[in-house]
């Protein structure tokens, strides 16, 4: 814990939904849910309008549909669009200080003490944060952010959440404990629903209650590591530094199937696509990996993982696939898999390359960026659903797949986005960030005048 409130935590408000509302004027002020839109999808982000009806991130999309009124937009995520805005925000943070720890696409810590800011008083940092939030709004076409500034990462994060959206909370040094005391124990990192329920049985609801618990009691309930850290965190003792680069420890890709898959040949095809995606992500994070893991979730949700460690790090999709195949052979799939994942860990910056034999079947190069546009979307509770369907979903074949929210262009009507599709038709609303709410038109799904487009410029 520092003596000044010099750690800033910035969180973009309902980021995915906010980008959608910016780019799609007809959705402004309306409930919007972004996430998996299939039968097993999960909400990644709900707009504040949708939250009024009880939609939340990590909620099954089917439940959000039940809760939200007709006219709520359910959109598939547009990774490219989110990354484009995120990059601009992160650049602004870097102008404030060289030490920026990006936690995810919409969240980062900034070490203000390492920057040019000389006035680290409560008023000084508040003014700097105000300016930052204004800059973000101007540079991103109106996205809003919330910030918390405090003497530790934990308090800064709690602060950014206190007055969301568009909140700015500075917790002055020395006021940490009293700020924390009345809050629910759930604000503390590491206290999820289970721990909270357990604590409730001991009459602990707020951080103040937790502060009254003896360390020995917490340790006897939760074990040395967890109990000990609860005791420390309840007293706002958090000495974690803001670190510039959070090194990825693992990279993975997974796929939830629309229906359980029994057919090994379909699983093989999935595995190929997952291995390629994993290799592409590995390449993006400029790393190689030694350990390859597969994850198989059975129809009854029981989940198995199997892994194998190579002698030398690899970045080769073919090598990853070889091992993943071998591992999948050891998994019973006779009752059908609901989810399949491929992951790599044991990352390093170098790779012992392999010789290429004459008759070796090489996997095609990793997918070009843009096709694999979910690559950088960070893990969230909905992490496994914000992906385009893999080969298992394609077995039906058919015309190009349009998905709700997708950016498209029509040679005659200009830029727009897919409003809905099905039965060989696709409905497009022609509007953009700088236009008025636009008109809706329906085309044949294979209309040659209609094509996939880049995210619009706001």
């Amino acid at each position: 814990m520092r003596s000044t409130a010099s750690i800033l935590h910035l969180d973009l408000d309902a980021f995915f939904a906010a980008v959608e509302q910016r780019d799609k004027p007809s959705l402004r002020g309306k409930p919007v849910c972004v996430g998996g839109i299939g039968p097993r999808g999960v909400v990644a982000t709900a707009s504040y309008e949708a939250r009024v009806f009880g939609a939340r991130s990590a909620m099954p999309t089917a439940e959000a549909r039940r809760r939200c009124p007709a006219g709520t937009a359910f959109l598939h995520p547009r990774g490219d669009a989110y990354r484009k805005s995120s990059r601009i925000v992160m650049e602004l943070l870097h102008e404030l200080s060289p030490i920026v720890e990006q936690v995810s696409v919409d969240e980062a810590y900034v070490d203000l003490a390492a920057g040019d800011l000389t006035d680290l008083s409560t008023d000084g940092v508040r003014a700097a944060a105000h300016q930052l939030i204004d800059q973000i709004r101007d540079a991103t076409g109106g996205l809003t952010a919330s910030a918390g500034i405090a003497s530790s990462k934990m308090l800064a994060k709690i602060g950014s959440d206190l007055e969301k959206p568009q909140g700015l909370v500075v917790i002055p040094p020395g006021r940490e404990l009293e700020t924390l005391a009345p809050l629910s124990v759930r604000v503390i990192a590491g206290i999820g629903p289970m721990t909270a329920a357990r604590l409730r049985t001991f009459g602990v609801e707020t951080v103040a209650d937790l502060q009254r618990m003896e360390r020995t009691d917490l340790v006897s309930i939760f074990g040395t590591a967890h109990g000990g850290s609860l005791h420390e965190l309840a007293r706002a003792r958090d000495d974690r530094d803001v670190v510039v680069e959070r090194e990825a420890k693992s990279v993975s890709a997974e796929e939830t199937f629309q229906t359980d898959v029994v057919d090994r040949s379909v699983l093989e095809a999935e595995l190929t696509s997952l291995a390629r995606r994993t290799a592409a992500r590995l390449a993006q994070s400029a790393a190689f990996a030694r350990t390859i893991t597969i994850k198989a979730r059975q129809h009854d949700f029981s989940t198995q993982t199997r892994s194998e460690t190579l002698l030398h790090p690899t970045g080769d999709a073919g090598v990853i696939l070889d091992v993943a195949r071998r591992l999948l052979d050891g998994v019973d799939v006779s009752n059908g898999l609901r989810l399949l994942g491929v992951g790599v860990s044991g990352l390093s910056t170098h790779s012992q390359e392999r010789l290429r034999f004459d008759d070796q079947q090489e996997l095609a190069d990793p997918l070009p960026l843009g096709i694999d546009d979910d690559a950088e979307v960070p893990a969230t509770p909905a992490g496994d659903v914000r992906r385009k369907p893999g080969p298992a979903a394609y077995v039906g074949g058919g015309p190009p797949s349009w998905w709700p929210g997708q950016d498209v262009a029509h040679t005659e009507h200009g830029a727009g986005w897919v409003w809905g599709s099905g039965l060989g038709r696709v409905t497009v609303r022609f509007e953009g960030p700088r236009s008025e709410p636009g008109r809706v038109r329906t085309f044949a799904a294979d209309d040659p005048q209609l094509s996939v487009a880049e995210p619009p410029q706001w």
Partner: protein
């Protein structure tokens, strides 16, 4: 059975015969060594279904016969005996081994259950023992030590007339040794895939002999077997089954940069510098006019660098290798100078030997090494 044999002769023969025996044999009798006293002397045999070994030594046979005793135990006993004649005498269910005043009584194992040793095929040709040992050791280092692709744990032996080639690869490097030998038939044309570890052991065990006969092929029940014979020692090994990857395109067709370095100087330097290269991290080699600079470690880790004199033909080049792979190759070329040929830093490098700094390249042994790539 009763016989008298020289102590050193016995010790050497038993040790050689049982060297391949497993500590946990698939069937108990396979832990045994079969002693056969006959007109020719004493024949010792051991077999574990993969490898068989058979050696005949001079002995004074008083009474012919066969016994089976625990192989490793007999080897240890005979090595520890005093240097005096050894008497071996079968007596009921026991075998008495006496030497001077030492006396051992070993349990006989049932010979009826002992499998028949495979018969080696007819010799395909012969090669000098020391040449064979060196060639095998040069190639076996590149065989795969893990068993993810069993075929790569073997050495590919190919015979075409008087040309014999040995090749192994673990996908990261490839070693190829080509030499001439004396085939029995001038049109011999065969390929065999021999487990690298067994081949290595066999080559070491037979290398001291003047000439090693190699028997390959389908004749005389030798299907799936290779036989080696040197003097009174005969051994067979079961071959690996499967299709060996085709590797002809691995050798670069063109060369851009060539450097010749004194082998021992480069070896020592790489060993020193790689002290800071933690497990599997690479050493970087920068070839420029007159020298190669070797470096390892970066960032916050320990770092080391050293320069070694080297000639350069072609453009300068920087390339990185797994230090152990590089050292394996440098240790295998067996010449005073190492010749390294490159195309690009991302393409395989070829290491070969040459006797003198400005002499001709000796291409009879080539070690192809895939570089380490850094993330960018």
């Amino acid at each position: 059975m009763k016989l008298v044999v020289d102590r050193d002769v016995l010790a050497e023969a038993v040790t050689w015969a049982v060297r391949g025996l497993s500590n946990r044999p698939p069937v108990p009798v396979l832990a045994g060594v079969l002693l056969d006293a006959n007109d020719e002397g004493l024949t010792l045999s051991a077999f574990d279904y993969e490898v068989s070994a058979k050696v005949t030594v001079d002995a004074q046979v008083d009474e012919p016969g066969q016994v089976l005793v625990l192989g490793r135990l007999l080897a240890e006993i005979s090595r520890s005996l005093p240097n005096k004649p050894v008497t071996i005498n079968a007596d009921g269910h026991k075998v008495e081994v006496t030497c001077g005043s030492s006396r051992f009584s070993l349990q006989q194992m049932p010979t009826a259950d002992y499998p028949t040793l495979p018969t080696a095929p007819e010799p395909t040709g012969a090669i000098a023992g020391d040449v064979f040992t060196q060639a095998v050791s040069q190639v076996a280092i590149a065989a795969d030590k893990s068993d993810t692709l069993p075929i790569l744990t073997g050495v590919r032996l190919q015979i075409e007339g008087d040309k014999l080639s040995l090749l192994a690869t673990d996908r990261y490097r490839l070693a190829l040794r080509e030499l001439t030998w004396n085939p029995t038939e001038s049109d011999a044309d065969q390929v065999a895939l021999i487990p690298a570890r067994t081949l290595s052991d066999t080559a070491k065990a037979l290398g001291a002999s003047g000439s090693v006969q190699i028997a390959l092929g389908s004749a005389a029940g030798g299907e799936g077997l290779v036989g080696f014979e040197a003097g009174q020692r005969r051994t067979t090994t079961r071959l690996l089954d499967g299709e060996y990857p085709k590797v002809t395109s691995i050798f670069p067709t063109s060369v851009d940069t060539v450097s010749v370095i004194e082998t021992s100087a480069l070896t020592e330097a790489v060993k020193r510098v790689s002290l800071v290269a933690e497990r599997n991290t690479p050493v970087r080699l920068r070839f420029s006019e007159g020298q190669v600079a070797i470096e390892a470690g970066q960032g916050d880790d320990a770092q080391a660098s050293e320069a070694v004199e080297a000639t350069l033909t072609g453009p300068e080049l920087e390339i990185a290798f797994n230090p152990q792979f590089l050292l394996d190759g440098l240790g295998a070329i067996g010449t005073s100078f190492a010749r390294m040929s490159f195309t690009q830093p991302s393409r395989p490098a070829v290491l070969s030997g040459q006797a003198e700094a400005d002499g001709d390249a000796d291409e009879s042994y080539r070690y192809v090494l895939m570089p380490v790539r850094f993330a960018s």
